[in-house]
């Protein structure tokens, strides 16, 4: 049975309104229970939509305004397997976050749950919509809920600064998207993705198309943290409450990428095809992002900040996979996203547990103290190995698929970059696992200045089950993604559907279901890349041990001064000053635009 597509959006919105209205007499447990139930229902609905869309896209016109005379009048949800899959992942993570936050946020009654429900509805609608303007609307809704959740700890300077940086950059990005929408509407008189794509392909490619592509892509890439738009991310992710972090890192970044490619394949692909300029630019940017994020990640000792930078690095890897503009690259990235969502969320939850027990996320203050919670240590270490690329985790399968796809596009060197980034991020997590949970190593670290106030109430001598269970479940989900037979083949089929602009437009505008796509055969990674994955996990472990035990001069560069040290350069850009970030945003957009203008003309 396929449920009506508006339900997974309407239900959480209604619950959000009810929670605020009921805040007159707040009842925390009832509110949390309702929110968890709602998130689970949405997960089930999205799962059903996913299954239903395997047979062909589900197109739903709001208000019954189906296309007349071949012109789309209303707003549609066009559900395809990748979009529905991302929506399912999102609602799953929201469910886990709500379970984990059973002990959080005592002081604002039901408002936290209400914000989370609105956030959930926005993300699901973002995945399902087939309308360009609605992508913008739900981008903003996601943003507004996100700013509040990021800045929740208003007593602290860090979260306020993080939320302001997030809000300002994200809002500027939103206006860039909207300007792009204005240009496209002026040319085509349409807002439906399929309709714009069809009408745009009637004209030759000119400045308007290039600039619209630039504005929409850069706007969404701000969410997806591509260099140099990534600066806000660490500030916001490192300070948000833990349950919110898993949503920011696990899906919000990925949603930005999803939007870039949804728009590219429906709107621009009919006129541009598999443009080499786009591949060249975004593969390059992706590699740069992956490496820069990984290096920054390796330098951190603030555990949340470390994980935030590893998200930047992974966002770069996803960008590489998707920018190949082939279905296999996209499929690899999708598998990677699914695996990463589980693993990264689990890692954040482990940090949340450390915070609950020891009131700090500064590794220097935590040395050896984690030994009291060996289970959490085990999860954390496994998560580190998974990030490093240990088969058969979903993360390693995704990485292998991207590498195979890249070598088929004659970009074999991409494997080197991806492996280096995996070794660094995995190594950083494993290093902290050894340092915090086993007390290993001879690292001399100065404690950080800032002490975060505890996020949770309740006794600190034990770890509540509602915190451990989600961490285990999410890590297991990251593993299941990698071993589930038929999963990569199914994703490959979904990816082929995603990149088939003609079939999408026919389904949306004429209501014609495309011919059934035969599941892809070659969805098994090649032996060589599997070995490489294992090697990269081993490399991560080795790097972790090296950084724990190597003589001081070989260890990580300190945050000290020095003009020629890369550390100083990173610190210079990562200033925490939002006016800097906007300046970089403008420069980055101009540079991207220059490359696209030269390449697409």
């Amino acid at each position: 049975m396929v449920p009506p597509p508006p339900l997974p959006v309407a239900i959480p919105l209604l619950v959000a309104a009810a929670l605020v209205a009921g805040n007159v007499r707040p009842h925390r447990r009832l509110a949390d229970g309702t929110a968890i139930a709602c998130a689970l229902v949405v997960t089930a609905l999205c799962g059903l939509l996913l299954v239903g869309s395997l047979r062909g896209p589900i197109v739903y016109w709001f208000g019954g305004w189906s296309p007349r005379q071949g012109i789309a009048l209303g707003v549609d949800f066009a559900v395809d397997p990748l979009g529905a899959g991302l929506a399912t992942l999102t609602s799953l993570l929201v469910s886990s976050a709500m379970v984990f936050s059973w002990r959080y946020f005592e002081e604002i009654g039901q408002l936290y749950a209400a914000l989370m429900m609105a956030f959930l509805a926005a993300m699901v609608a973002f995945c399902l919509t087939g309308d360009l303007f609605d992508l913008f609307v739900f981008f903003e809704l996601m943003g507004v809920a996100g700013f509040a959740l990021a800045g929740y700890e208003v007593e602290e300077p860090g979260p306020l600064q993080g939320a302001i940086n997030f809000a300002v950059t994200s809002t500027v990005a939103g206006f860039m998207v909207l300007t792009g929408i204005g240009l496209l509407y002026g040319r085509t008189g349409a807002l439906n993705l399929a309709q714009i794509g069809r009408s745009l392909s009637l004209h030759p490619v000119d400045g308007l198309v290039v600039v619209a592509l630039l504005l929409v892509t850069c706007g969404f890439l701000v969410k997806a943290a591509a260099v140099p738009f990534h600066l806000w991310l660490a500030d916001a992710h490192a300070v948000a409450p833990t349950p919110v972090c898993i949503l920011f890192s696990g899906v919000m970044v990925e949603l930005g990428l999803y939007a870039v490619w949804r728009v590219y394949w429906t709107v621009f692909a009919p006129s541009l095809g598999q443009a080499r300029a786009v591949t060249g630019l975004l593969v390059g940017v992706g590699c740069l992002t992956a490496l820069l994020g990984a290096v920054e990640c390796f330098r951190q000792q603030h555990l949340k900040r470390l994980l935030a930078f590893s998200t930047v690095s992974h966002a770069g890897m996803f960008l590489v996979g998707t920018a190949l503009l082939t279905s296999s690259g996209l499929a690899g990235a999708a598998v990677y996203v699914a695996g990463h969502g589980g693993v990264k969320a689990s890692l954040f939850l482990c940090v949340g547990i450390l915070m609950h027990r020891f009131r700090t996320v500064d590794a220097a203050r935590l040395k050896g103290r984690g030994a009291a919670i060996p289970v959490v240590g085990g999860i954390f270490a496994l998560g580190g190995l998974a990030l490093g690329g240990l088969p058969p985790f979903g993360t390693s399968l995704g990485k292998e698929l991207i590498e195979d796809a890249a070598s088929r596009s004659h970009l074999s060197w991409v494997a080197v970059v991806l492996t280096a980034a995996s070794v660094l991020t995995g190594g950083a997590v494993l290093r902290e696992a050894g340092h915090v949970f086993l007390g290993l190593g001879r690292l001399e670290r100065r404690p950080l200045h800032e002490i975060q106030e505890p996020e949770t109430a309740g006794p600190r001598w034990r770890t509540p089950l509602v915190m451990v269970v989600p961490a285990v479940v999410l890590l297991a989900a990251g593993l299941v993604v990698g071993v589930l037979p038929g999963f990569p083949a199914g994703v490959e089929a979904a990816a082929r559907r995603f990149v088939d602009s003609g079939a999408y437009a026919a389904a949306v505008l004429q209501g014609r279901s495309p011919p059934r796509v035969v599941p892809a055969v070659a969805a098994v990674p090649e032996a060589g890349t599997v070995v490489l994955s294992g090697a990269s996990a081993a490399g991560a472990l080795l790097l972790a041990l090296l950084s724990l035990y190597a003589p001081p001069r070989l260890r990580r560069p300190g945050p000290g001064r020095g003009r020629l040290r890369p550390a100083a350069w990173f610190g210079w850009a990562q200033s925490g000053d939002v006016t800097d970030y906007v300046a970089w945003l403008v420069l980055g957009t101009a540079v991207y635009g220059l490359v696209l203008a030269l390449g697409l003309r």
Binding site: F133, G162, D577
Partner: protein, 118 residues
């Protein structure tokens, strides 16, 4: 001269976009920065409405007009309405953050909010 004037509305949109960004980048006060953000946003109103304009057409209000009278595009106006709401809401959240930041940092200068280090 004439083609320049014909593109004036779009030029004004581009101008407001860039000028607003200049204000953000050089801002020394969070409230000033937020207001500059609203200038960037007003660029999108001007662009959208200019894109949907039709010379000599009536507003899309169909009281006492013959059925075939040309009107300006109602779609962009609906988009603009949404855009206006987005403006006021984002301003409200940012101002709330700015008020709290001023309490914590003792300053509203965005360049002097203490950078965090990891």
């Amino acid at each position: 001269m004439s083609p320049l004037v014909a593109w004036l509305p779009f030029g004004v949109a581009v101008w407001l976009f860039v000028v607003g960004l200049y204000g953000i980048v050089t801002s020394r006060h969070l409230v000033h920065l937020i207001v500059c953000l609203s200038v960037v946003q007003s660029s999108t109103y001007v662009l959208l409405l200019a894109v949907g304009y039709r010379s000599g057409a009536l507003p899309p209000i169909l009281i006492d007009v013959p059925a075939r009278t040309p009107t300006v595009d109602p779609i962009v106006q609906a988009l603009c309405l949404t855009d206006v709401v987005v403006e006021v809401t984002v301003m409200a959240v940012l101002l709330a953050l700015a008020v709290q930041a001023h309490k914590r940092f003792g300053t509203a200068d965005p360049t002097r909010l203490r950078p965090q280090r990891g």
